[in-house]
């Protein structure tokens, strides 16, 4: 736990496994964290790929019996969930993002390095949590879309754990996204304006914003499903007036933008490859940035196109159809500009270039079939068919994943100091290219020939089904061979010594000035402060400007810490408890029973749940009590706000999104007359009192923050203490109110009550989270961890507290006053 002075002592002995593991558990180094994301993603891709081969083997011949019924559904659910949440989203956004966003911005780390450590481990633990489901009743078999009411079908397994894992994964993802956004706004190299940032940074920025705005939809869908499973609280249950299609609205509000979360980082990667390999500037840099931003905007307005066949009002369908088709315009611009970038260049035909060209071609076809799906009557025919399966694999598997591969081949020398073999790389490419078309072209035709998706079997005798399915399976096997070549390529590259130069491809962005692989402090130099275009290295070379060497000994990096890892580990335990146990032995159908009457697995998980809470607090406070740097460091940031505040400002967008989605759902149910409050409902006077309490606390914490700023530390500590007391008073009132309301009528029978408990309860949870957040700077202040340079976590905690307060005002309006 020391400052990492550079150059590091080169020890000749190889570190042991535990030493390496410990290093990665405690590290705040964005590159190691990026490596963790990439490694986990590769494992996710491998497992999900093998599951896909299993799916194809089952479908190779009619009436096959390899994976039957729900087993098949479990395999396809895990295949999709792993591919999306543990490969395609993380490897681009967080793997490459963590590795290259700071490097391309010319800085030494992200804005909040320890939050980054926490996020990566929470991400890994969410994968582990999904895996523990296999030993606790089985994997979910409801599809990654977990449509309601199949998700609450009593014969289904593993849904609760998927909900919890997706929520943890989501929290990790949001923290990572907020971190990136804060980094970009606050920490670029001096002189680099937003409009001189590399296109990849722009794509990460846009993706992060999109993630922050939309992820609330998925969390809301997962939360309500989870609460119905555990408590019988439902917003969707048609039996009490709920609307099942509301689930789909929630779900697709995120899961359509998620497609662009998967796409955008790779469009950035592709543009970087194109520019470097063609030895040219980007064609229309600004237009490309605008089109990325346009995709972010429009992608938020197209989610209903997944539900055309549900039969929503025509006006809705048409509005969303037009938005859907319009997405093709900025996406098309990206394609044209990539070709324009190649035009007139001197294209170096190395493996990254092949992946890029392959991507453009495949994505073109995927885009065209996507437009066809936007034409609603055609969609009525082929939605939920293999045509759709082929389409989204066309854009994801042999679209964006090709650029994931391209990025890996492109940045591999930077990340490892070694090259991947060109020969194996081309084998990998061609096997993937041919395998993909063999797998999915027949699936397009199968869709037109009426084969629905997610079928574990099909009878003989349907015209051409047997033949096309067999070809598709052969394609999947080809892909498997391609994957094997790829894995071998990565392994064999480590057998040679690290010989790659700093800039092996002749790239134009700042990451190519760092060593390959980069030192922990990234750069032993400072950059010129003028950035004429987004290609600084080219411009500086033309102008004869040079880098200024810096003595690495003067560089301070954040110290390693156990805090983030242990906090994430405690959340894994909590997630385990919440998935397979509960605070009591309560089931919606069976009611409350003695704790130890439950199944042993349930009792164990419930005990784990109780244990996890003190562990979580312990780890969190330990983290808060450890300083980020062991010497006072004056932080460099571009705005007047510190990184904690900036990170939290971005993060609360996601909280607004989450409450926004849930509240929109409630308001809808209320307006259509489905959710009517029961005669006995929570009193407005108690809510008014609670409003007074919360608003007071907001003023108090604001005052306390000012006191801290002016050096009045005693008043500062008192202010935080009063805030905590007020929060506790609020919670006491609310628990009283909930208990009273809970016995007055049955929440399983009243939709309004279910909405009330879900949304107001979620707000109560946020009071607890916010209170814990306020307790952290209080603890830091009481133990003397704050000083002139280090304000601890007061600014983000106070901002979060204000947010919780504002949400409360809205809740009073729609639940108590209305």
């Amino acid at each position: 736990m020391t400052v990492q002075h550079a150059p590091l002592q080169k020890s000749s002995a190889r570190p042991g496994v535990w030493a390496v593991l410990k290093d990665y558990m405690m590290t705040t180094d964005h590159k190691k964290i990026g490596t963790l994301y990439i490694l986990t993603s590769i494992i996710g891709f491998a497992v999900a790929g093998l599951l896909a081969v299993g799916i194809r083997l089952q479908l190779a011949v009619p009436d096959n019996t390899f994976l039957v019924g729900n087993t098949y559904n479990q395999v396809l659910t895990l295949h999709a969930a792993l591919m999306i949440f543990f490969f395609l989203i993380p490897i681009g956004l967080f793997g490459f993002g963590n590795w290259f966003l700071p490097l391309q911005l010319g800085i030494r780390d992200v804005a909040l390095p320890r939050i980054n450590t926490f996020a990566v481990w929470l991400f890994i633990f969410s994968l582990i949590l999904v895996i523990t489901g296999l030993a606790n009743g089985g994997a979910p078999g409801v599809g990654w879309t977990f449509y309601y009411p199949l998700s609450v079908d009593a014969n289904q397994t593993g849904v609760a754990v998927l909900m919890v894992a997706l929520t943890l994964n989501g929290i990790a993802s949001l923290l990572g996204s907020a971190n990136f956004a804060a980094t970009i706004v606050n920490m670029r190299a001096p002189g680099m304006s937003l409009w001189k940032m590399p296109i990849f940074v722009w794509s990460i920025f846009a993706t992060s914003i999109l993630q922050l705005i939309s992820l609330g939809g998925l969390t809301a869908a997962a939360l309500v499903t989870y609460l119905e499973l555990k408590l019988g609280l439902s917003m969707f249950n048609p039996g009490i007036g709920g609307v099942p299609v509301l689930f789909q609205q929630f779900f697709w509000f995120y899961s359509h933008p998620a497609v662009y979360v998967m796409l955008l980082p790779y469009l950035g990667v592709g543009a970087e490859i194109a520019s470097t390999m063609a030895r040219k500037p980007l064609f229309g840099y600004r237009v490309m940035v605008y089109s990325i931003l346009a995709i972010v905007l429009v992608s938020l307005l197209v989610w209903v196109h997944h539900m055309f066949a549900v039969g929503l009002p025509d006006s809705w369908q048409i509005a969303f159809m037009i938005a859907t088709l319009i997405v093709a315009v900025p996406t098309g611009v990206k394609i044209f500009n990539l070709i324009g970038t190649l035009w007139g260049g001197r294209i170096v035909m190395k493996s990254p270039t092949y992946w890029l060209v392959g991507f453009i071609f495949n994505f073109l076809v995927g885009g065209i079939t996507g437009v066809s799906l936007g034409m609603i009557p055609f969609d009525y025919q082929v939605t939920m068919s293999y045509y759709v399966v082929a389409h989204f694999h066309n854009v994801m598997m042999f679209g964006t994943a090709f650029l994931a591969m391209g990025g890996l081949y492109y940045w591999w020398p930077k990340m490892t100091g070694r090259f991947l073999s060109e020969k194996l790389g081309l084998w990998h490419f061609w096997l993937f290219m041919i395998g993909s078309w063999m797998t999915f072209l027949p699936q397009y035709i199968l869709g037109l020939l009426g084969m629905p998706r997610r079928y574990y079997t099909y009878p003989e005798g349907n015209f051409a089904w047997s033949e096309l399915n067999l070809i598709s399976t052969l394609g999947a096997v080809t892909l498997l061979f391609g994957g094997a070549v790829w894995v071998w390529n990565m392994i064999q590259s480590f057998r040679a010594p690290a010989t790659a130069s700093a800039n092996p491809w002749g790239g134009f962005t700042l990451e190519w000035t760092a060593a390959s692989p980069p030192a922990p402090y990234n750069f032993a130099h400072e950059f010129p402060t003028n950035f004429p275009t987004e290609r600084p290295l080219y411009d500086w070379e033309q102008r004869g400007e040079t880098l200024t060497p810096v003595d690495p000994k003067t560089i301070h990096l954040p110290v390693d810490s156990w805090g983030p890892f242990l906090t994430a580990a405690a959340l894994l335990l909590m997630g385990y408890g919440l998935s397979f146990g509960w605070f009591t032995n309560y089931t919606p159908t069976g009611g409350l029973k003695p704790f130890f009457d439950a199944a042993p697995g349930h009792v164990f998980a419930s005990v784990v749940l109780y244990i996890s809470i003190p562990l979580f607090l312990l780890a969190l406070f330990k983290w808060a009590g450890t300083r980020e740097y062991d010497v006072p460091v004056a932080h460099h940031h571009l705005t007047k706000y510190d990184n904690g505040f900036m990170g939290m400002s971005w993060f609360i967008i996601s909280e607004i999104g989450l409450f926004g989605v849930l509240i929109a759902g409630y308001v809808y149910l209320r307006v259509i007359g489905a959710a009517e409050p029961p005669a006995l409902r929570p009193n407005i006077w108690l809510a008014a009192l609670n409003t007074l309490v919360l608003v007071t606390s907001s003023f108090v914490i604001h005052r306390a923050e000012q006191d801290n700023h002016h050096g009045k530390f005693t008043r500062f500590r008192l202010g935080l203490f009063i805030t905590l007391i007020l929060g506790a008073v609020f919670m006491i009132f609310q628990v009283y109110e909930f208990t009273l309301f809970g016995v007055e009528s049955d929440w399983k029978q009243n939709l309004w009550q279910a909405c009330f408990f879900t949304i107001v309860g979620l707000h109560g949870l946020h009071i607890l989270i916010g209170g814990t957040g306020v307790a952290l700077p209080f603890y830091q202040a009481m133990t003397g961890k704050m000083d002139k340079y280090n304000h601890g976590s007061i600014t983000p905690a106070s901002l979060y507290w204000h947010l919780v307060d504002v949400v409360w005002l809205l809740i009073v309006a729609i639940f108590y006053a209305w």
Binding site: N70, V142, T145, Y147, P149, L150, D153, A154, N155, P238, G239, P244, L282, F283, G284, V287, A309, V310, G311, D314, I318, L325, I326, V329, G332, V333, I335, F336, N337, I339, L342, W343, G344, R346, M349, F361, L364, I368, V371, S372, M375, I376, P377, F378, Y380, Q381, T383, M384, L448, L449, G450, P452, R453, R454, T457, P459, E460, G461, F463, E467
Partner: protein, 407 residues
Amino acid sequence: MNTKHRHSGTRRRPITRPIAAAFLGATLLTGCQQTNQFLFIGDLASAYNREIWWMSVWAIVLSIIIFVGVSYALFYTVNKFREDRHDAPPAQFHGNNRLEVILVAVPVVIVFGLSILTVRTMAILNPTPAQATKIDVLGKQFWWNFAYPETTSDAGGVVTNGNEIIMPTKQPVALTITSGDVIHGFWAPNIGGQRAAMPAVKKTWQIDTTRAGVYQGNCSQLCGGSHANMRYKVVALDQDRYNTTLAAMKAYRAPEPAPGSAEARGYALFMQGKASTQAVACAACHRVQGTPAAGAAGPDLSFFGTRRTLGAGMWEAMTADRWAEPKAKEHLHEWIKHSPTVKPGSLMPTYDGSEYLSKGQKLKGGVLTDTEIDDISAYLRSLKLPEEADYWSGTPNYGANASGGTQ
């Protein structure tokens, strides 16, 4: 009944036959247990599909132009400017605003055009014609009921058939679709598009075809273990036969078995089950028109003897003998004995004492002897419509070769 189809009689002549012939010519004849059939969204015997086809033609033409144009631009660029062919120093230009504007404007115009086509087609397809034949569709795990809300049977109750839907040709048919549990999807591509079957919601949707024949339908929304085994047959009959069949269904009362016959023993078991071995009565879940059996948890069995599909299309008995044919008989026996074993996730209780999953609980089924099961089979086989109302008889299976159709 209005037989004049709304979309027929336009300049758009069905071009089904050549397309179908071309496809069939390529059919590989395999030794099938099941009938050959040709599912295709481009089956232009349906006005619905014709409408989509004429909408899509423009999109297809544009798509081909765009695909060829952009691919050509891509590969031409790569070939022309690759290092080993292009020695000149790379041109350091940053873009071309005029070109960018064109590359935005042209797609916008295309999108605008496609939107107009889409809205136009929706305006034609989506409204339900008032005079359309009405059929109610109910999807449940994992079967379908098709009811004729305008036809109340003489024996009481709305005429309903399980897993086989009979519809008239040459007119729009309005399906009112709902689900009894999770979401299902109605999709018979030859006669129209999909519609989700949502619980507690009724959505009306149109299908149609001009060609009498049997078409395959499938569930298109993941609904559990046997999502892939939730099939149905659409039997499109010309107006006269349709009227005859529906009239017979209306008049139908399940035949009373002769005392002492196997059917009579089966009837007793069907209605009462066997309390001594906890074998639940079939009548608790199934309805048979003209008998006290009025269960709603399973598909309607009123015309089982006329039907040629079992277990929501898992097995077909396409010979005139139907379920008396030895292989089919065997299937029926196995089905009654332990349906969850032969169809994953089936919610029907077992009758061999084996376990099955219901509402997350493992339950033990009752027990019937093989003879008793055969008695029930015999009773089921007797549930036949009169000969003239046998909607299968002579109705060709669409896409079947000469030897494969229905006799």
